[in-house]
Symmetry: C2
Subunit: 229 residues, 2 copies
Amino acid sequence: MPQGYSLEPVVQESTPSIIARKLRYAIAHGEVAPGSQLGEAELARELGVSRGPLREAMQRLTQEGLLVSIRNRGLFVIEMTDAEIRDMYVLRTAIESAACKLLVRADHVAAGNDLLAKVAKMENASNAGDRAAMSDADLAFHEDLVALSGSRSLARIHSTLMTETRMCLTVLQASYRGTEEWIAEHRGIAEAILDGNGPLAELRLGEHEDDALARLTNSPSEPASVSIA
Amino acid sequence: MPQGYSLEPVVQESTPSIIARKLRYAIAHGEVAPGSQLGEAELARELGVSRGPLREAMQRLTQEGLLVSIRNRGLFVIEMTDAEIRDMYVLRTAIESAACKLLVRADHVAAGNDLLAKVAKMENASNAGDRAAMSDADLAFHEDLVALSGSRSLARIHSTLMTETRMCLTVLQASYRGTEEWIAEHRGIAEAILDGNGPLAELRLGEHEDDALARLTNSPSEPASVSIA
DNA sequence: AGCGATAGAATTGTAAACAATTGACAGATG
DNA sequence: CATCTGTCAATTGTTTACAATTCTATCGCT
């Protein structure tokens, strides 16, 4: 077997899948504003595909909750209210907490070290003053947290949440002030996992996501998660 | 304004949505076996629609994880291995636990009574020896648990999990022996919520879902959830 | 007899044309 | 002058036809 080529099975990604991925990226990165309409004809021309596959891709994104469909009117990018963002974080915390539970019962040492490496990346981005890299590293941390749990179900749901989160970050131009504290929170989670202390990891995770929520929404409101102490 | 007509806005459900709903039901109730192929032409003829809307519905179900697509081969109903069923229950437990957390912070008395009413329905079905009604009441309990939490995010994810659960129940012809214990578990959860005891509700929920898992899978394996004590 | 290649059939992926519904603007009417 | 109605333009929803890819079965060869 020739080295250098990881002979993975050729992934014949379907056209709707490609379109969905591109649109997801565009929405996540604010290239299309929330609330704006996505005209079929225009998009099809832009992407160089016909309306059939495009509509199929739209259905996927609608199912994911990134678009809302109004019959005979068109498809629109979701506009998330503060309440909806809070609700999203309820789900996100639920998913990541479950991932923590799984992690501490698996190889939590390897996972913890892996996550600490991601924290180091955040520090580098922070020192360089690179806001975009900071966001990337932040999201990568949480994505890894779930990926390392080995649960396909959790990962699938979580990936859609990450695009929504990215969208909020982009749109709201979330301020990354208090960076040191921000990094410390991530490190705290990683260390709790390294120690195999599941409840502590979940507790810190809950507090961390409450902080994140406070940065994204105006009303402080009640925290999304509660202490299990 | 004429009485007798509740003049709610007419909801024009889109054709793909209708198709998706019908297919979901068919899959959940074992009318199409797991692993079987869904031919476009045949389905379109059966449902009286053309391939366009049908394909859009398929994309939705694929996104939900009920179907898997193999390019140029077709769409197939998922076959869940024991490992995948366990993984699904990890997610399900995560969602329902989060719902418990929300519930005890809201009107947990009303919610608890509501859930106890569902338990009563289970008892009736049990006494009547009606297995189908038993399944319905079982699923209705868990559906309400999430619905009462008021979280749209949780409800959306949970609804897809319920169809998958129903599919497993149907396919595996899950035995409902030990019905008394089964009902008692549900009652325990409802009472914990009635009392506003979140941690206890989550604990009992976790044990309950482990039991459910044991009925569905062959290998006992390790429990999906861990005690938080 | 077993293996390989080739041809055929079936199915999916794509595209373009057609039909139906909606929203807005303009004109008529009280 | 305000309001209602009718027409028009634009967009979506649906259907039909066509192209490309893949599986299968048969035929020939070793």
